[in-house]
């Protein structure tokens, strides 16, 4: 690599300045919806575990509410083995929601 070949001529400098000027001032600004989306994205990439746990707890609560409604509706959800199955179902649904959220976050990151 010769030293001469590495030095920029005045024309090269002017060319680079022209590129810099042509690209430099262009700031399109971002819309409010995009800003909200990017902030939400920041939360997603920062707290995937927290989000998954939130979703899991939400899933358990939803399943429990459904079980209570079914119980009030006359189904024997409080009795013996059925009660255990209902509890297992609620926890299972919670785990399912947690896994789904974690997968979604993973896809977002990929």
């Amino acid at each position: 690599m010769s030293r001469n070949a590495s030095n920029l001529t005045a024309d090269d400098q002017a060319f680079l300045d022209w590129i810099g000027e042509s690209l430099g001032d262009e700031d399109r600004g971002i819309s409010v919806p995009l800003e909200v989306r990017l902030n939400e994205l920041t939360r997603h990439v920062q707290e995937p575990t927290e989000l998954a746990l939130d979703a899991g707890v939400r899933g358990v609560v939803v399943a429990l509410i459904l079980a209570v409604i079914a119980g009030l509706g006359g189904l024997p959800v409080w009795q013996g083995e059925t009660f255990l199955m209902v509890v297992a179902g609620c926890l299972g649904y919670g785990l399912f929601e947690m896994a789904r959220t974690q997968r979604a976050t993973h896809i977002t990151e990929a």
């Binding site: 590495s6 590129i19 042509s22 690209l23 262009e26 989306r37």
Partner: protein, 182 residues
């Protein structure tokens, strides 16, 4: 290298999103697609934040990520077009709001695409100069090369761009008030 705090990352988003969006529009079919590419750029930036240099070159680092995302997108789109052509179908153009000036948008598109095609190290040196305004000496120190090597990279990048953008440069020289002031 320090760990990136969420507050710092949000500050980057506020500071650079507008300019990066302008870059993404050079690779996208419309504003909506450019916004998606910008989002992808930020995801990649967050996931690779530990690899960045702590030397005041955040701008050029983000621009390099954005150029890679844009280039990958252009490649995917080209493959998709080939597939559509193979099946005798026409791909529907994605609609979005037009750029304020079509001519300026076309100039940007050509400039960014030419820069995106440069080898990574030349691109880095060039962007440090264009985006961060860094001197050859500072760039050489930060990337652990000699000043001479940095000059060679810059020289090669300039020659490649001149070959690719010669017509635009000639036009800019003829009309100094349109498309920059040479």
């Amino acid at each position: 290298m320090t760990e990136l705090s969420p507050e710092e990352f949000r500050r980057w988003i506020r500071e650079y999103s507008g300019r990066l969006l302008s870059l993404m529009e050079s690779f996208a079919d419309g504003h909506t697609e450019a916004e998606d590419l910008l989002q992808e750029t930020w995801i990649v930036a967050w996931n690779n934040a530990d690899r960045r240099h702590d030397d005041g070159s955040v701008g050029s680092w983000l621009y390099q990520i954005a150029l890679n995302v844009g280039r990958q997108h252009a490649r995917k789109r080209s493959r998709r077009k080939k597939l559509f052509n193979f099946w005798g179908m026409k791909e529907e153009p994605v609609t979005g709001s037009a750029s304020p000036s079509l001519e300026r948008a076309q100039l940007h598109r050509r400039l960014w695409r030419a820069i995106a095609r440069l080898p990574a190290v030349q691109q880095e040196v060039l962007l440090r100069r264009l985006v961060d305004g860094m001197s050859t000496r500072d760039t050489a120190r930060d990337i652990n090369k000699t000043e001479g090597t940095v000059k060679v990279y810059l020289h090669r990048a300039t020659q490649t761009l001149k070959e690719e953008l010669g017509d635009l440069w000639a036009e800019a020289l003829k009309n100094p008030h349109e498309g920059g002031t040479p």
